[in-house]
Symmetry: C3
Subunit: 201 residues, 3 copies
Amino acid sequence: MFYGFIDILGTIAFAISGVLVAMEKRLDVFGVLIIAFVTAIGGGTLRDLLIGNTPVVWLRDGTYSITIVATVVFAILFAKRLKYLRKSLFLFDTVGIGLYTLVGVEKGLEAGLQPLVCILLGTITASFGGVLRDILCNEIPVIFRKELYATPCILGAASYFLLAQFPIPENVAYALGIVVVMGIRLLAVKFKIQLPNIYRG
Amino acid sequence: MFYGFIDILGTIAFAISGVLVAMEKRLDVFGVLIIAFVTAIGGGTLRDLLIGNTPVVWLRDGTYSITIVATVVFAILFAKRLKYLRKSLFLFDTVGIGLYTLVGVEKGLEAGLQPLVCILLGTITASFGGVLRDILCNEIPVIFRKELYATPCILGAASYFLLAQFPIPENVAYALGIVVVMGIRLLAVKFKIQLPNIYRG
Amino acid sequence: MFYGFIDILGTIAFAISGVLVAMEKRLDVFGVLIIAFVTAIGGGTLRDLLIGNTPVVWLRDGTYSITIVATVVFAILFAKRLKYLRKSLFLFDTVGIGLYTLVGVEKGLEAGLQPLVCILLGTITASFGGVLRDILCNEIPVIFRKELYATPCILGAASYFLLAQFPIPENVAYALGIVVVMGIRLLAVKFKIQLPNIYRG
């Protein structure tokens, strides 16, 4: 129940981030819709394809598609006010990547994969939608350039495996993993932490 | 038999549209071939991957690959005359998207998916090859910008589900769905209908 | 054993080629890592997805991920010296595409596919990582433009099927196929052989 609610919030947040980028590129209505769709379901789709978990999740459950279409209609109608929502959007997005990271880890474990590749799967689930959004809009994906986006996912997923070594209930480790992703992401944005610069001079 | 014939015509039309874009970008022979290939089989491939219908269709049946290679050889040899074929090409392409849309819908139904996601699958089957073509050529996909391309697919696929509610044979509904896709596409191009502009001022 | 050694060398070579392109684009540490990763595992991943051979190879075996991370760390630390390695890198890369081409062919045969599509699968395995690298870096893939890269793969894979017609052991045909890929690639680079120009005037 709570899970479903967060999942929908995450989908909405990712869809709106797609709408914002697509409108900046002045795409038509269909273009905006498809970019929103791809941003929201891209990560989970790639994860399901890599594992072989098909039909992929949004084909099995129409709720995702309906949520995204409704979000896009709403976002286009209230386009001018979207900017006032940026702060809430950022929060949804942060909750979304936290949750999606751990969902990806869990799916990897269900498929019998090793911890290291489960961490990768979680990070892919959380970040690949944004990568696809940027490729389709003909940009170098933003997460490759300046935002500290994937690092929180990697650290959060890793901390889950670390915590699972201790005698604590598994779903507590799971929840703490989500909190670590969100916490590092929030701190990174608040204090403008960036990855070290590897180019000198 | 008739189905196979149309399928080959659609493959040829999509392959030639790939050749035209690749030659505009002045790619080499191999680049032209790969873009033609991706344009022709991209939509069906993504559909098969998403459903989990693997090996994907052109791996199971070599006819597609042979058709595409022959088309590219022909297109390069007669490159200068291709422009006189533009009208026929447009017709092939229109027949192709009509057929591919409904094939995609049918594959979704076979996999036990809901109508809404079947409509999406049909649209993906018909339009994703062109999206991949444009991404590989480093362009924002044309269907996101100005051509009314995906909308006919969505409406045609939806009309199939609508018609299937009435007491008419299923293959009549199927054929009418194809006709709706082609009709809207032809009208949209003839009367230069565009999606509503969501950017004012 | 020998196979595993070459496989690791190929992975390293592809990963470093990713690092070089990513650093030219001045991506951050994570961007460099992901581009290296995608370059090294992109071809095998697409092959596995198309065949339906999931979870894909690098999810089943963590060695690939560890090799790539170690390579990237090493490459960033010794970034300034990488240029002296270009010649060795080119050799690794050439061995890599030779081997990857025939591995792709073999996986296709195992899945019961026809020779023609096996040749395509081999070529995809060897070249798609580089295509993804260039798409993510917002470039038209280099293999579509000037380097004679896919042609050696196609000819080497075809020569394997040709040789398999003769009364020679299968693994000799396999090894000769690899040699053909490497030989044509080396000759093409040494004598700057290019595909015929299809644009006159």
